[in-house]
């Protein structure tokens, strides 16, 4: 395989975009990568899948934006081990989160969020983070007694004398919904939902 670099190509622009992202906490870290591979050497996803954090940065620095459509980026555990040891002060874990947000902005990544719309709903409508119901069936299958436990949760909490109750007040829920409306979250979720309908 061979490739060309045109005089007009500017591969560094892609990395620049990542550096400017609001989530980036590592300044120019991504540019300082020397491809030492320490990230890959301790990465659980690299150990058990085709995901390779060093390669992610190599492709970013090559300006290879096709990485946004690469399923491998979704294998990162967000365990931050690479982030905690990177000798040059880069964080593949963070770069990955930024790549995924870019994929979502470009709608490439919408389908990866379909299963997680439950988070959006529970947060938007009830101001709580709850495991999406869509997974309950799997959990019930994999975890014997879980469903039964959840049915008795209130009793257990009572025995532990825990308050306040699980549900936030209406005022709190309204505030959270409003915040998530003005940040653009609601719009984004609606778009994803629409694309999910088409997908079906």
């Amino acid at each position: 395989m061979s490739s060309q670099q045109k005089i007009s190509d500017s591969p560094i622009n892609f990395a620049e975009k990542i550096i400017e992202d609001v989530k980036n906490s590592k300044d120019e870290g991504v540019l300082k990568c020397v491809q030492c591979g320490m990230c890959t050497s301790i990465c659980p996803a690299a150990r058990h899948s085709d995901y390779n954090p060093r390669d992610i940065i190599e492709r970013v620095l090559e300006g290879d934006e096709s990485i946004l459509a690469d399923d491998n980026i979704w294998n990162c555990f967000y365990c931050y081990t690479c982030h905690s040891v990177c000798p040059v002060g880069n964080s593949v874990c963070e770069v990955n989160q930024i790549l995924k947000q870019m994929a979502i902005e470009n709608k490439i990544g919408y389908d990866k969020l379909y299963e997680y719309m439950g988070f959006a709903d529970s947060y938007f409508n009830a101001a709580i983070g709850a495991i999406p119901e869509i997974f309950f069936k799997d959990i019930d299958r994999d975890v014997p007694g879980w469903w039964d436990f959840r049915l008795h949760l209130d009793e257990i909490r009572n025995e532990l004398e825990l308050d306040p109750p699980l549900m936030p007040s209406k005022e709190t829920i309204d505030e959270v919904s409003k915040i998530l409306t003005i940040t653009g979250f609601k719009d984004k979720i609606e778009k994803i939902r629409a694309s999910q309908e088409d997908y079906k």
């Binding site: 591979g37 890959t40 301790i42 990177c86 000798p87």
Partner: protein, 767 residues
């Protein structure tokens, strides 16, 4: 009264260089002095007689030489004005800063008149002062007895200098004595380190100019006019060096066994011991922290050399200069626990591998694991603690670890060709000739894997090294039965301590900082203190020796040359001074200290910048030589010759800026005639008062230039901003003042800046 002083002006034609542009007859007409004469070449030997005769004939008190730049001929004319005090003469630079930069004869002549008049007014304010001569004692303290300190000491001693070599451990020799084999890039071979060290050690021991103090540390230091007063603390050895014959009977009967630190704790030694076979002094020593005082050794010693009681001794030492050679230590592996160094015996450092493969080491040179077997596969991990910005790591490359790994890999391969050696690296850094050794290592079937391992774990009898083979792009688990870590070099504890005691600057990494990497790579930021070896930064033995001998040469320059210092430095009025110490805190050049309950100012480092004046509430400090009044008089002298409609810009530059300005003339570039340059000893001496005085008396603009490398740069910049702010408050235009960086070689830039500033001022006046 100063106005009654008789001033003589000597105009130099400079063989036409000046007189072709400047109308010297007109100059003579315009100036009102007691004597004025015009001569073809004033700097010629003939000039001495001309000037001296005039001084006698006209009874002159002060002299102005209007000629070239003081940078080139001030010393000459200071000599020619004898018997007048040299500081009663001033030079008006009408060549580099007038005839060479201006074409318009009329304007150049007017400017020359202003410049000469400035000098006339200035010399009237000059006082007779004597230059300060400093001669440092020709004695040197070399701190640290490793390979760098030993070489520096030896080189100085051979040049006739008395040297005290101070080593805190019981023997000199340092790391080099420990590392077994060393490598030189020219011969592609490993050589016996001790065999190379020993001749230097012997030579040093026998040199009468060197006194070696082991078990000794510097605990206090104070500097006075080129002399350092050190207080050393010598811990007792408990064994009389002069009596001990190193027979070793004492150690045989000693009951206490402790890990042998010289063998990186890989073997045991007694509480009474000799650090290593060739250690110097050739005497046993007692490790009193572990001694039980059973007295067995005392009883068996036929020389009666052992005394179990002893006290630390304080030794004063006076020297002219100091060489810091306090070296490095190795990275603490507890800071990278994932490599298992503290958990597993067979995870070792390159230093320990050096001991293990050394014939005088714990296994007599056999490469053995802790279970006594020869390893089947040794994996080396590079950059442990180096090139690592994470907490406790070092951002820098330790420079020697690649070659050290190659060396140790080759040593293993020579003796145990069946042992597989794999080096995990990020980059193999073997610059210059070392590249040939890298190739040689590959020929020896040492293997290389490009990847930085993440962790080492134990699985059954072996280790697993987890890494990525970055060339294949594959995660791999490598089985190994010995892992060797190439640990970073970091400043030794002694280096940290001595930096604090001597008050020398350090880098962000804690190494001793050189004064300037190009101009003064061996000097520190304190005059008379030099650095060499790994106290300065990671380097190998060859580089350490080269820097050590260079340090010896720099000490020579400093000690033998003696130093003549312009006397325009700070002076303390001891009647007023309450020794509050504020000035010490203010001084950026570390020139002030307290001595015998008085503030002492080191003339060698004081620049006369006057920063200390600000902190002194008692007003007990003055800068010698009436500096403030001279600057004021110079300003007044220039401006009093301002003609109607003429634009006058005053430019204040110190030695560096002034040299850059001269270079404009030397290269025959030009700038507007409005530019009048005033040389000051430190631009910090130009006070807001001076600037206001200039603006009130007709200056259209004030330009202040400073070299960014000057320690006072930030200070001056802030001060100028303050003056500008004040102008705004007074509803005046702050644009009339400018502050600018100046560099000697960037004279074109200075010419451009001066031209631009003139244009800006012209625009302001146009409004």
């Amino acid at each position: 009264m100063r106005d009654d002083l008789k001033v003589g002006v000597f105009l130099c034609e400079c063989g036409g260089n000046i007189s072709d542009t400047i109308d010297l007859d007109k100059v003579k007409e315009e100036l009102d002095v007691d004597f004025i004469g015009q001569f073809e070449n004033l700097c010629s030997l003939n000039g001495r007689k001309i000037i001296r005769d005039a001084i006698f004939d006209y009874d002159l008190d002060r002299v102005v030489v209007a000629a070239c730049s003081p940078i080139s001929h001030e010393k000459t004319f200071q000599d020619y004005v004898k018997p007048l005090n040299p500081y009663l003469m001033d030079m008006a630079n009408i060549r580099e800063q007038c005839s060479w930069v201006h074409d318009d004869s009329k304007k150049a002549t007017n400017k020359a008149i202003s410049l000469i008049n400035a000098s006339i007014e200035k010399v009237k304010q000059s006082d007779a002062v004597d230059p300060i001569y400093c001669q440092t004692p020709d004695e040197v303290a070399v701190i640290g007895g490793g390979i760098a300190g030993m070489n520096a000491a030896l080189s100085l001693a051979k040049q006739g200098t008395k040297v005290t070599l101070i080593e805190q451990s019981p023997s000199i020799g340092g790391h080099m004595a420990k590392i077994g084999k060393v490598f030189s890039p020219v011969k592609i071979a490993e050589e016996c380190g001790m065999c190379l060290l020993n001749p230097i050690l012997n030579e040093l021991v026998w040199n009468e100019n060197i006194k070696v103090l082991t078990n000794t540390k510097v605990i206090e230091a104070e500097r006075r006019a080129g002399t350092y007063n050190l207080i050393l603390e010598k811990s007792p050895r408990y064994v009389d060096e002069d009596k001990c014959i190193s027979c070793g009977k004492c150690a045989e009967v000693c009951e206490v066994e402790v890990p042998n630190d010289w063998n990186d704790n890989l073997s045991m030694r007694k509480a009474i011991y000799r650090p290593f076979g060739q250690s110097y002094p050739e005497s046993y020593v007692i490790d009193m922290d572990n001694c039980t005082k059973c007295s067995n050794c005392v009883k068996v010693c036929s020389m009666k050399a052992i005394k179990l009681r002893g006290k630390s001794e304080r030794i004063p030492l006076q020297v002219g200069s100091i060489v810091v050679a306090t070296g490095h230590k190795l990275f603490d592996m507890e800071k990278r626990p994932e490599y298992g160094y503290t958990r597993y015996d067979d995870v070792i450092t390159q230093s320990e591998l050096g001991r293990i493969t050394g014939v005088n080491g714990p296994t007599k040179g056999k490469l053995l694991k802790s279970n006594g077997e020869v390893p089947k596969r040794v994996v080396m991990i590079q950059c442990v603690g180096s090139r690592d910005e994470k907490p406790d790591g070092h951002k820098y490359c330790s420079k020697i670890c690649c070659t050290v790994a190659l060396k140790n890999a080759n040593i293993i391969k020579h003796k145990y060709p069946d042992t597989d050696v794999l080096i995990c690296y990020t980059d193999v850094r073997t610059p210059g000739m070392f590249e040939k050794y890298y190739k040689h290592t590959q020929e020896n079937e040492v293997r290389f894997l490009r990847g930085r391992p993440g962790e080492v774990v134990r699985k059954g009898d072996n280790f697993i090294v987890r890494t990525e083979d970055t060339i294949k792009g594959e995660f791999v688990e490598i089985e190994a039965d010995m892992v060797v870590l190439s640990t970073a070099m970091e400043p030794s504890k002694g280096t940290e301590e001595i930096a604090e005691i001597l008050n020398v600057g350090t880098t962000e990494d804690g190494f001793i900082k050189e004064s300037h990497p190009k101009i003064k790579p061996i000097a520190t930021d304190v005059q008379g203190i030099f650095v060499c070896g790994t106290a300065h930064e990671p380097k190998d033995i060859t580089d350490s020796i080269m820097q050590a001998t260079a340090a010896a040469s720099k000490v020579g320059e400093y000690n033998y040359g003696g130093v003549e210092i312009e006397p325009f430095i700070a002076e303390i009025d001891t009647e007023r001074c309450i020794v509050c110490g504020e000035c010490i805190a203010h001084c950026k050049y570390k020139s002030m200290s307290i001595h015998n309950d008085e503030i002492y100012i080191d003339p060698m480092s004081c620049t006369g910048c006057g920063k200390c004046l600000i902190g002194c509430e008692q007003r007990a400090i003055a800068i010698n030589g009436n500096i403030d009044e001279k600057i004021k008089a110079t300003i007044g002298g220039v401006l009093s010759k301002k003609q109607k409609g003429e634009r006058m810009i005053l430019v204040f530059l110190d030695n560096i800026g002034y040299t850059a300005a001269d270079n404009i003339g030397v290269n025959r570039l030009s700038y507007p005639e409005s530019i009048h340059i005033i040389k000051v000893i430190s631009v910090n001496r130009v006070t807001p008062k001076h600037i206001r005085y200039a603006l009130e008396n007709g200056a259209d603009g004030v330009f202040i230039g400073e070299f960014p490398g000057d320690l006072m740069y930030d200070e001056v910049e802030r001060k100028i901003q303050g003056v500008k702010n004040r102008l705004i408050e007074l509803d005046e235009d702050p644009e009339r003042i400018t502050f600018s960086k100046v560099y000697i070689p960037y004279f074109t830039g200075l010419a451009r800046k001066l031209t631009e500033f003139d244009r800006r001022i012209a625009e302001l006046d146009g409004k």
